[in-house]
Amino acid sequence: MRDTAALPERDAGSFRDPNGYVFLHAGRVFRAVTPAIYEQFAAIYDSGIIARLSDQGLMIACTRVDADDAMLAKFTGPRGERASALYEHPRVPMLSYPYEWTFSQLKAAGLAHLDLQIAALEEGYVLSDATAYNMQFVDGKPIHIDVLSLQEYKEGQAWSGYNQFCRQFLLPLLLEAWAGVSYQAMYRGSIDGISFPDALAILPKRKLFSSLTGISHVYLHGRSITSASSATSESSSRKSPAISKTRYLAILQQLRDFLADLQSKKRSETYWHSYASKNSYSDTMRDTKLSFVRDWAERVKPKLIWDIGGNTGDYSMAAIEAGAGSSIVLDGDLDSLEALYNTRTKRGVPILPLAMNLSDPSPDLGWKQSERKGLMSRANSDGVIALAVIHHLVIGANLPFDEVINWLLDIAPDGIIEFVPKRDPMVRQLLEMRADLFPDYTEERFRQLVSSRRKIVSEHTFDSNGRLLVAYSEY
């Protein structure tokens, strides 16, 4: 590996596992393996299991890198560990977190995790944990990104990630499936996932005690964790019981069967089949906007777009058809994002929906507030589209107009913003029940703000109320 002057930067979220750490270096992603696990991991790598799981689309690709001692010395862990070996992974285009995923996305990630565990166990390997943060969407599909979680199976060992799987996949999914509760806000407030006491308090007893999953994985499991009798010194010194491989595999398989059939209480599969037809209206305004987006994408050819308030992804789709690489749709409406995921992402369209309240985007979270990155820390797009959204932020959410426009301009060098004037019926509706506290919300001020930092390349006023589309580039 060629040496470069800059020191590798350890990913701020990579610190818990002392066996290895993820580093970014010269635009590449490396995993440094520490002496503690060097030999065991080398044996796992040489067995070819990682390559086989990667070929099945279950685990991220991993390649050993030739690195001399001088290079290895640069990859030092947070506890002072020196790297013994380096491996390289392809870069995940956009890190996302379970509290940003819809029901269908979290379910897909849970199923992919169980598929990986089952495939690994059948070859004599297990995963040391089951954190949902190790699942990332690549080309629309969830894959596991932490190869160091893979360990050799030892006869009689239990599933060490069972608790984590339940808290980070099963319980949030059950909140929505059985209680109709959207889990995203709770999940964001609790980085380790939904707690058993909270889930037991919320989930309907009728549902809980009428299924094997409710009884075993939620009730009995929850009771075993919080049981007063378990706290005695006698039980805490008790030796872990041996679990047969058959039972280990049965837990994984039964959970997989259960999750595969699980439906959101809010929406059914058939809902999505009819959703597209219900919403596929076509009018002049929509066609004009689609055409403007296509022209922009053809000219700029952005590799990655952030589609702010992108709803079901219609404009992202138009941009991709015209030459954009892929898109991240950020929207607070879970129904639209579910429709987008089920009708496009799942079918291979490179659009990733992420649940995001735009006036309160994901913050930096976790240890030292850098374990999970906030939305803007992950800004990596070269194009942004913000159609019919700024009036919701400025008038609907009382955000300062200047700050909203500057925030959008900060996201990417190129983009399109739609200005919706006060005389538009949608804005009039927003202002109907409240005082107009927005004297600066004018087309003139909008133009000033955009042109102070970007060159307006094209613009189009497209209805009688004065809706304006502006495409801009860097000066």
Partner: protein, 71 residues
């Protein structure tokens, strides 16, 4: 395995006979590991039952599919 009469009954009995709300907190992993002998047994029974059910219903399901395809 959505509905199971026997586990439902077990659950009802467990629920009815459960002691006062748990107050103590122990390492979550410990409880999760210990419970796996029981949960694993229940899961193994459920997977076996599903497999038997699928074997029994398979001929009817494929016949139904053929009927639809030939219709």
């Amino acid at each position: 395995m959505k509905q199971l009469a026997i586990p439902s009954l077990c659950g009802a009995i467990l629920f009815a006979s459960s002691a006062t709300p748990a107050l103590a907190y122990v390492d979550p992993v410990t409880g999760s590991i210990i419970i796996q002998t029981l949960v694993g047994g229940l899961a193994a029974a459920a997977v076996a039952l599903r497999s038997v059910r699928e074997k029994i219903t398979a001929p009817f399901r494929s016949k139904k599919k053929d009927d639809i395809e030939n219709a």
